[in-house]
Symmetry: C2
């Protein structure tokens, strides 16, 4: 993994992925006590940064591999990113999803042209089902994060952050990244190392799912005890990846751990002040910027807003519960 792979991915994404805006509001600056910038990846195609990595990986395949098709396991954002990127390449996509995934996400993935294979989360292994399908049909597996071309695609967001921060006159700041398996964080970290070394990437994780934060402290891969039970579903992973962790360990500042309630508060702030829709996991970096500033250094902070695929009911609950605080 190196900056050349990210720049090559940026070339392949040119004209296909969206260059998302870096947003700000004086009201958020007042809350944080420093300038706050939000990289709005919820505005990316399919509503999350995942489209970048999916496009990067799929656009690097041979014509034969494209013709045969791709496969991915995901209940959420990666599924939609792979489905759309595959469709736009004319490649068949198979997505293995748990049968208890939200119906809307299943419907969306199908509507984007993918074949959805449902499995029983309790009794079946998605890896086994996927491996069997991949072997039978010769499909190429697009992993969600521990895959060089996926990391390179997510890193293109870091190239944009470097350019957009420079345009705002910012050359020293913490860059807070919503962190699951570390594909987004490590890709951004590599891009910033090369293009804006004064910008320091820092993973942000939900309480009880702070595997990366703990791994950075211990210097080895640590696991989460729980596998579910947070509204931040988009960034719940068992542990950092074998490829992503060494990159994060070399380049990232300390992790920040945020309670779920602060994510919901940040969703409401993003709604009122930035006019963007965030899912809880996609709001966690903004939550750190707004409510955990004592752990942040510098006069400015950049928060990634990684996705906006939130269930309507969860969004309404956030507005109901925290709307009056604004």
């Amino acid at each position: 993994m190196n900056i050349d792979m990210i720049e090559q991915a940026a070339g392949r994404l040119q004209g296909h992925a969206r260059r998302t805006p870096l947003l700000s509001s004086p009201f958020l600056d007042d809350i944080a006590g420093r300038r706050v910038f939000v990289k709005a990846e919820c505005l990316q195609h399919t509503g999350s940064f995942k489209f970048r990595g999916a496009w990067s990986a799929i656009s690097a395949l041979t014509d034969n591999a494209l013709k045969t098709g791709v496969i991915a396991f995901s209940s959420g954002n990666h599924a939609q990113g792979v489905a759309l990127a595959a469709r736009l390449h004319g490649a068949p996509a198979t997505i293995v999803m748990p049968s208890d995934a939200p119906q809307l996400k299943i419907d969306n993935t199908r509507a984007l042209g993918a074949e959805v294979v449902l499995y029983d989360r309790a009794g079946e292994s998605r890896e086994e089902i996927g491996a069997k399908l991949a072997a039978e049909k010769g499909l190429t597996l697009i992993k969600p994060f521990d895959e060089p071309q996926v990391i390179a695609g997510q890193g293109t967001c870091g190239l944009e952050i470097a350019e957009q921060a420079a345009a705002e006159g910012i050359d020293q700041a913490d860059v807070l990244v919503c962190c699951g398996g570390g594909g987004f964080t490590s890709g951004i970290a590599l891009a910033l190392e090369a293009k804006a070394p004064g910008l320091r990437p820092r993973p942000v994780e939900p309480e009880d799912f702070d595997d990366v934060t703990r791994s950075l402290v211990s210097g080895k891969i640590e696991m989460n005890e729980k596998s579910s039970g947070s509204l931040c579903d988009a960034i719940l992973t068992e542990k950092p990846g074998d490829i992503t962790f060494p990159i994060m360990h070399r380049l990232c500042g300390p992790g920040i751990v945020v309670p779920e309630a602060d994510c919901l508060r940040a969703m409401v702030q993003a709604f009122v002040r930035l006019k963007i829709v965030l899912e809880p996991g996609g709001a966690i970096a903004l939550a750190a910027a707004l409510y955990h500033g004592d752990q942040i250094e510098g006069d400015a902070v950049i928060a990634t807003a990684s996705g906006g695929n939130v269930d309507r009911q969860i969004f309404q609950n956030a507005l109901e519960t925290y709307g009056d605080e604004i």
Copy 2:
């Protein structure tokens, strides 16, 4: 009014106003039966395109005029645009607002550094209060739409639409514009005339407030009978402006009139598919694109999304009422 004024305004806005993205979603294309592009001005500073016109007008003032200060009448988006643009120029701003304006909008305008003068909508005239204050203190009045430098500022959005449409390969399409007094519509129309003559501007208005649509038919300025009673508060005006109407009459295609319920539906679509927050009046052009396509020509349509300053309760009601349709 001409394209030179818009290009000069664009020069003054460079690095200050945001270049907002042109968003899209295959799901919206499916609803409309053609490609749909949304110019997301809700992501502009202060949550609406109004910041463009305010910055354009204020940045054209002399140092003396800036030092003395500016005044505006508005209960909404223009107020916030003027307040922020004035603050960033170091100019005192006085905003005359009705005492029954939403407390949040009053608070926001004050928080942006403006002096808010409240008046009783029933018993007092904001024009008289404003004229008196302007005369006493020598303040410069920044009109909301019928003012060349304001129109020039709004026209910078049209320059961006022309460039962004070209990047998408679109050179023939209707451009639907959320229309109140016509400042946004006429500015965009002048920009498109010069830069993308195949793009045809079309005003979109709420039922019962279709003064521009009727004026375009009759060829003279027509008035609305009602002055309130629509959720589309941002685009309710008595009549088109003396400057804006001739421009619209020369350059615009027929108006489109949209029921309020369709604006709420479009707000929900923007929430689910684009991850942006729109106010009812800011969603009216998207509503026309999605639900009134029989009045639109071409394989693609561009809808402006003019603002996102929506009361939380109205947004929640829209999600409750129409969320299950998605």
